[in-house]
């Protein structure tokens, strides 16, 4: 029983990472009161360019670099439309998601001459880290050690972002820009600039989530491989009202569910049903959220 549990938790942390990273990105938009729903597309774009960079230049670090740049470019496009041209944020987000889906599908075909998925031995995955000392602790060590490094980045960022949001001037200003934009403007700060920074952070973090999807979780790129994770992150952000630590915890809950599904597959439950678990969980989460907010 215990090996199953450690395996489950180990895998859950792994599946939680892309959801948490994208949710951290969306969290900044949430606090700046920007309705940014482009995490799905930014993640997909990041996943594609991670594979592209890593494959072309033979090192995972190039993958990370390319992915982050692609996220930055999408953030710029988002800002151009939503902040400069004042297009509806929801419409911009849908446009960006479509752009990412279209561009990666097309690029996959045009660059790698394949349809559906690009798999190659020549794609270097991101390295897995062993943790000294912690590794030796019986249960905890097995759960925590031997993950690709973005998993640890996500865990550390949870606390860093908590501090940034609630203990720094930037966090205070960002939250103020969301809640009382007039007050922020009256002390001479630019609300649009703060919104722009939130979009940039969202792009970088979501595309980093994409890196983990295509170079950490598995080592390949397939069409639409983000598969709704961006939307699940959005649901989490709304549910926990953009608080970093609860975002991480909720992501782990989703990670557990995703892997519970894989576990059930061993007992001959069809894969189509086990794959549904995260989405059903999201519906359930929405249900309990509606319950809670109606009672208060």
């Amino acid at each position: 029983m215990v090996p199953v549990l450690t395996q489950l938790l180990h895998a859950a942390l792994s599946s939680a990472t892309p959801i948490a990273l994208a949710a951290f990105g969306g969290m900044f938009s949430f606090h700046a009161n920007v309705f940014n729903i482009a995490m799905e597309g930014m993640m997909l774009m990041g996943a594609y360019y991670a594979v592209y960079g890593a494959y072309r230049f033979g090192h995972w670090a190039y993958g990370v670099l390319f992915a982050l740049l692609s996220g930055l470019v999408l953030a710029m496009i988002f800002s151009l439309f939503a902040i400069v041209l004042k297009v509806d944020e929801f419409i911009t987000g849908i446009g960006i998601n479509m752009l990412a889906l279209g561009w990666t599908t097309y690029s996959l075909r045009a660059t790698f001459k394949v349809k559906g998925a690009f798999i190659s031995q020549a794609i270097p995955p991101v390295p897995k880290l062993r943790l000294f000392l912690i590794e030796k602790i019986p249960f905890l060590g097995e759960v925590l050690s031997l993950h690709p490094f973005p998993v640890f980045v996500a865990m550390i960022l949870t606390f860093v972002f908590h501090l940034i949001l609630y203990r720094t001037a930037f966090g205070l200003r960002l939250r103020a820009a969301g809640e009382e934009p007039v007050a922020v403007a009256s002390v001479g700060l630019s609300v649009r600039l703060l919104k722009f920074w939130s979009a940039v952070l969202c792009g970088i973090l979501s595309s980093f989530a994409g890196v983990y999807l295509s170079l950490g979780y598995v080592t390949l790129f397939s069409e639409n491989m983000s598969n709704g994770r961006g939307w699940i992150s959005l649901a989490i952000i709304i549910l926990v009202r953009g608080k970093p630590v609860p975002i991480m915890l909720m992501s782990i809950v989703f990670g557990i569910l995703e892997n519970l599904g894989l576990l059930l597959q061993r007992y001959a439950v069809p894969p189509q049903f086990t794959a549904m678990l995260p989405y059903i969980a999201t519906l359930f989460v929405l249900y309990s959220y509606a319950r809670r907010s109606s009672s208060t």
């Binding site: 004042k86 849908i94 279209g102 097309y106 709704g228 939307w231 049903f273 519906l283």
Partner: protein
């Protein structure tokens, strides 16, 4: 005057989008001129291409209509994909196993598909009404559930063992929709639904309430609309349209069976069409035809040039973004100019 301006704006925006796309084609070392010629040849160039475009656009008209009506009523139905899939699957399965006289069977299957789509949307309506769950996320999540559930049904219980990909058996031949001068009846049904929707929105009191809800929910409530009932109704109605689209794709498309990936991108395309059409049902028809033209022309583009057909997905996104960006840009520019002239007047 206003119509002229908006048509002009649209024309400018679409030209701009094609220019941006041309740059990307140049980067791929292909000639944009050749690509666009091929797109035109295969999308509109001959009677054959033209009717093919019409036949390619009927699912888009219906999902676009579904999104337009929902958005214009302030209801965020993003569940077109799932509703479409369910409509398609049930029509496909019933079309194999039910025995009915030909024309009645076809009509029955189409309506059945629509009702199933409506039922799937009704789930979201139920969640919203009973538990106050936001339809924005719930319809999205239901898409994923529909995707996996229909795939399961086509992979195990209703699998055609002779097929290469998970798919159901072909429906009975007598249910196939006929064509008039190569235009499939499904297209006429879709156009008829556009008129019906227009009539509903502009000539009935429920439609009036729906539009008021879209303008201002609070105003509608104060004015005596039963906003909750109207929201559920719109969700179910728009679900019916998407489901009908799915059923018609089985009856009037080329496959006549449900197969993995048959829903393609019709759901999101519908949402994009609604955005381009600014949620007007009449404009939806035109934009759906436009997207249908691009999709159909894409096949030719792949034949004639080295640009793969997937490029059209990207082109579509570029067009949407350029269109909404240009529209919004024009609007804020004219606001700014008006404010400036007002300021000048006051300064004098």
């Amino acid at each position: 005057m206003n119509t002229v301006r908006s048509v002009l704006q649209t024309a400018v925006a679409i030209s701009l989008a094609f220019l941006v796309a041309a740059l990307f084609i140049l980067l791929q070392r292909s000639s944009p001129f050749e690509v666009y010629m091929a797109l035109y040849e295969y999308g509109l160039g001959s009677w054959f291409s033209f009717t093919n475009t019409l036949n390619a656009s009927f699912p888009l008209i219906l999902t676009g209509l579904s999104a337009s009506i929902a958005f214009s009523s302030g209801v965020v139905n993003l569940g077109q994909h799932g509703q479409f899939l369910w409509g398609a699957l049930v029509a496909a399965v019933a079309g194999v196993y039910l025995k009915m006289p030909g024309w009645f069977g076809t009509a029955f299957l189409a309506v059945l598909g629509g009702l199933v789509g409506a039922g799937w949307a009704a789930l979201a309506a139920f969640f919203k009404r009973k538990y106050r769950m936001d339809e924005f996320i719930s319809t999205l999540m239901l898409n994923f559930l529909a995707e996996y559930m229909t795939l399961y049904l086509a992979t195990y219980p209703f699998l055609d063992p002779k097929a290469y990909v998970p798919s159901t058996r072909m429906i009975r031949r007598e249910y196939f929709l006929a064509s008039f001068f190569d235009v499939n009846l499904a297209f006429f049904v879709a156009v008829f639904m556009v008129f019906l929707s227009w009539w509903f929105l502009w000539k009935t009191w429920r439609g009036y309430e729906a539009r008021m809800m879209g303008y201002n929910k609070l105003f509608a409530t104060v004015g005596g609309c039963d906003v909750e009932t109207d929201t559920s109704l719109i969700l179910i109605l728009t679900g019916f349209l998407s489901g009908l689209g799915g059923a018609l794709l089985i009856l009037g498309g080329t496959q006549h069976r449900f197969m993995k990936g048959i829903g393609a991108n019709f759901g999101w395309d519908g949402v994009m069409i609604a955005i381009m059409a600014q949620n007007s049902v009449v404009q939806t028809l035109f934009y759906a035809l436009f997207i249908g033209f691009l999709k159909n022309g894409a096949v030719g583009m792949e034949f004639e040039t080295s640009v793969p057909s997937e490029f059209v997905m990207f082109l579509q996104a570029i067009i949407v973004l350029t269109l909404v960006g240009a529209r919004s840009g024009f609007a804020s520019l004219s606001d700014w100019l008006r404010a400036r002239s007002e300021l000048r007047r006051l300064m004098k």
